[in-house]
Symmetry: C2
Subunit: 474 residues, 2 copies
């Protein structure tokens, strides 16, 4: 029924009546969305930017020349494209380097095992750490064995994959939990559901008061093999060598560019991802693809001369992987005017086929029926109808991201650009996170979604959610 | 309708009328199949054998101590189980060893690339071969470039996956085709459709009259990356180091065991797979799982005291991967009595979920309607009805295998135990071909299928196909 009157309203819109608050958002923005979809789905240049980043720059760990080059290239390219207020916002970041590393099995057979040291890990002495291996399937099992069994050993956590959340705690905390019982080093089964003999790195976090011992990821294959040997009573001994260490903190930057708002330029919608990556693969899914998609969304809007009422800003945050200094620096830079942030959209679960957006408001349970949440949710459902032709019209209750976390905690409504998430953790933090894993059509859809969602949130009369962001918000 | 009278016939069978030629094979063997399925699907010991082979012995390249240990263990275990005529049939095999190997990228950046030398490759000088890389997407492209462009270079075949058949030719023949144009070494994109930074080895074949140059597989990721760099005009230089060489031929063996036939013991049905593997991973899918499944089929039949009229023989062939000497030696040993081989069943495409069998007769197009083929095919369809509850009742037109090839060329009807074949080439010839990739339920189904098919072919009155095997058969 609403559909029947749409042509009339559309005509009204074309005649210059730019918006009608009573009119659903999808009807108000259908022609704009059509322009953007047409441009995004036939675009070649966004993909070329991603191809350049992954092929010619590659991975981009905080402090690395790769990340520096990526930042310089983005700033320069954004300026050439004519984006506004392009700048590199300086951020001091940690500078961890992997160094040379290896894991040698000595018993029951001699073999070099595939491995990746964990980010933030300390190194070993140059001669390595040689010790018998104790296999545990959980923290409970390890702690049940106690100090007598653990002391002097290298603990291998052979923890079955139960999804990222349930498994990653062993990567994050395993070293300290083992060290608390006297272990000399820790090995973790890579946090992934599918392996083709592929180690996955990622950061660990040392607990205060326990010795800092080196830690590395091994492949699912080797973890299962060693666990089976141990189950059969076979003695296992390895030498772990890691040259990992910290260099002095480095200067990095968040890359920022805008399309300035036509009516309320001081109000801002932020879209983006994190520009840094681990020091393996190309950071194609994590998080290069999403960064380029957000950036290119602005590029297309600028080419189409679509200038929203509010400012639409892309931020490519630095140092998400091992510090979050970029997210904190950005937040600090806007903390005095946080109420001007209308919404923040982040994409950081790879760039597989987009399915829609997640939506979160800090301090509000999205299932609670809270009217502040429901108002925003209803508006997003209206906008999402525009995405039905791309099969990307799902609005999930709950959403956010590490880089927009500080903004959200200050009350800014947060969205995540969601994908089908089928293979992300197969590639995540590994040598396999490379351009050949990205489908160009998925990338183009993400550009389209970033552009339309960003444009509508920045242009619509009302703010997305009636929460007033403030530095004091929970 | 046929179903309606089955209980009567079954009763007749139970009363001692062992078979009725007019009765469909599935009706004749339904109770036997039920016994076998019940035993196979609840069995733990077959899996334990596979677990032992993969965990405690591991990979088994011809000439290696791994293969020797595997052969000794099988012969000993088969004897302990009470199988009959257990023997190790001596086979002289090639003894290729990989040695130390590496691939270092020097330009445009310095990086060590994942690689695996190809089986049968010659090595490099100790200092390696350092040369610029020339990327080709096909033989046509390479040969179009000609000697002027190829000479002195290392050729990288970055050939997209189009299935194993279309891709593996670059692994097999790429070195010689490049050498014919003056290349110093060859690199091939691994022959796989899915990669997580995983190189896949496999054998190459040098053509007579061209220099023998070393060759290695690189990952899909690196092949695509280097191809993209080359496309953009970036100069690429690598050093390939390979210690690959041949040792003097070694003595290996086919492992053979039987359940002797009760009425026509001189007539034989063979089931099996190849016991050797490449020198990476555990040879779990290729072809350890199928070998253990065939072996354990006999073990279960023997426990159930199900002795068919003809002899049912398991053969674990040696040296399939780099020579086929095991298949040839077995064939030679029975060549004088080839007509006594009623059928041969091989499983060598991994041990994912079984879906049925393929059926081939040498020299007969399975689609031609030839009555000799159709008679056998109709009998297999009858037998396959027994497999419907396991969703494994497909009889494919065409089938065979490398190890039963010589038998088939002498006229023996050949079957392959087919699987869904979804991920086999993800693991094939790589570090990822390990036990964690095998589903115990798939393995148990394969045991059940080997046992029922083997038993019925060996027990039924008629021979599977009315082709008389003979050494002179096409």
């Amino acid at each position: 029924m609403g559909r029947r009157i749409a042509p009339l309203l559309l005509t009204a819109a074309l005649l210059g009546s730019a918006s009608t608050a009573a009119q659903p958002l999808d009807e108000r923005y259908r022609d704009v969305a059509g322009q953007i979809f047409g441009a995004a789905l036939t675009d070649e240049e966004g993909w070329e930017k991603l191809r350049y980043l992954t092929t010619h720059i590659g991975h981009r760990l905080s402090g690395s020349t790769g990340l520096e080059r990526a930042i310089e290239w983005a700033v320069e390219s954004m300026r050439e494209e004519g984006l506004e207020n392009v700048r590199a916002q300086p951020v001091t970041v940690t500078h961890w380097v992997r160094g040379e590393e290896s894991l040698e099995l000595h018993a029951p057979v001699r073999r070099r095992l595939a491995m990746l040291g964990l980010g933030n890990s300390v190194g070993t002495p140059p001669e390595g750490i040689t010790a018998p291996v104790l296999v545990a399937r959980s923290f409970d099992e390890l702690e049940g064995l106690g100090r007598e069994k653990v002391e002097g050993r290298i603990v291998l956590y052979a923890v079955p994959w139960t999804g990222y959340g349930g498994t990653v705690v062993y990567r994050a905390l395993g070293a300290s939990r083992a060290a608390a019982l006297g272990a000399r080093a820790a090995l973790v089964r890579s946090a992934t559901g599918r392996s083709l003999s592929t180690p996955h790195t990622g950061s660990l976090r040392y607990e205060e008061g326990t010795p800092r011992i080196p830690a590395a990821a091994v492949t699912v294959e080797d973890a299962e093999w060693l666990a089976a040997l141990a189950e059969d009573g076979v003695e296992i001994e390895v030498t772990l060598r890691m040259g990992a260490h910290f260099l002095p903190d480095a200067t990095s930057a968040n890359v920022i560019a805008e399309i300035r708002g036509s009516e309320r330029p001081e109000e801002v919608v932020v879209i983006g991802g994190h520009y840094d990556s681990w020091d393996v693969g190309q950071g194609a899914h994590d998080d290069g693809g999403p960064c380029i998609a957000a950036w290119h969304a602005l590029t297309l809007l600028q080419r189409l001369e679509l200038r929203p009422r509010r400012t639409l800003r892309v931020v490519l945050w630095t140092n998400e992987e091992n510090g979050l200094a970029g997210a904190e620096a950005y937040h600090a830079s806007v903390a005095g005017e946080i109420e001007r942030h209308v919404a923040a959209v982040e994409m950081d679960m790879g760039i597989e086929r987009p399915v829609g957006f997640g939506f979160g408001l800090a301090g509000i349970d999205p299932e609670s029926g809270d009217p502040r949440y429901e108002t925003g949710y209803a508006r997003l459902l209206e906008i999402a109808r525009l995405f039905a032709p791309l099969e990307a019209d799902r609005i999930r209750r709950g959403g956010g991201g590490a880089d927009i976390g500080p903004l959200m905690r200050s009350g800014v409504p947060g969205l995540s650009l969601d994908t089908v998430g089928e293979h992300y953790f197969d590639w995540h933090h590994s040598h396999a996170d490379t351009l050949d894993k990205v489908e160009p059509r998925d990338f183009r859809k993400a550009v389209a979604l970033f552009a339309v969602m960003g444009y509508v949130l920045a242009d619509m009369e009302e703010r997305l959610a009636p929460v007033e962001p403030s530095p004091l918000n929970p």
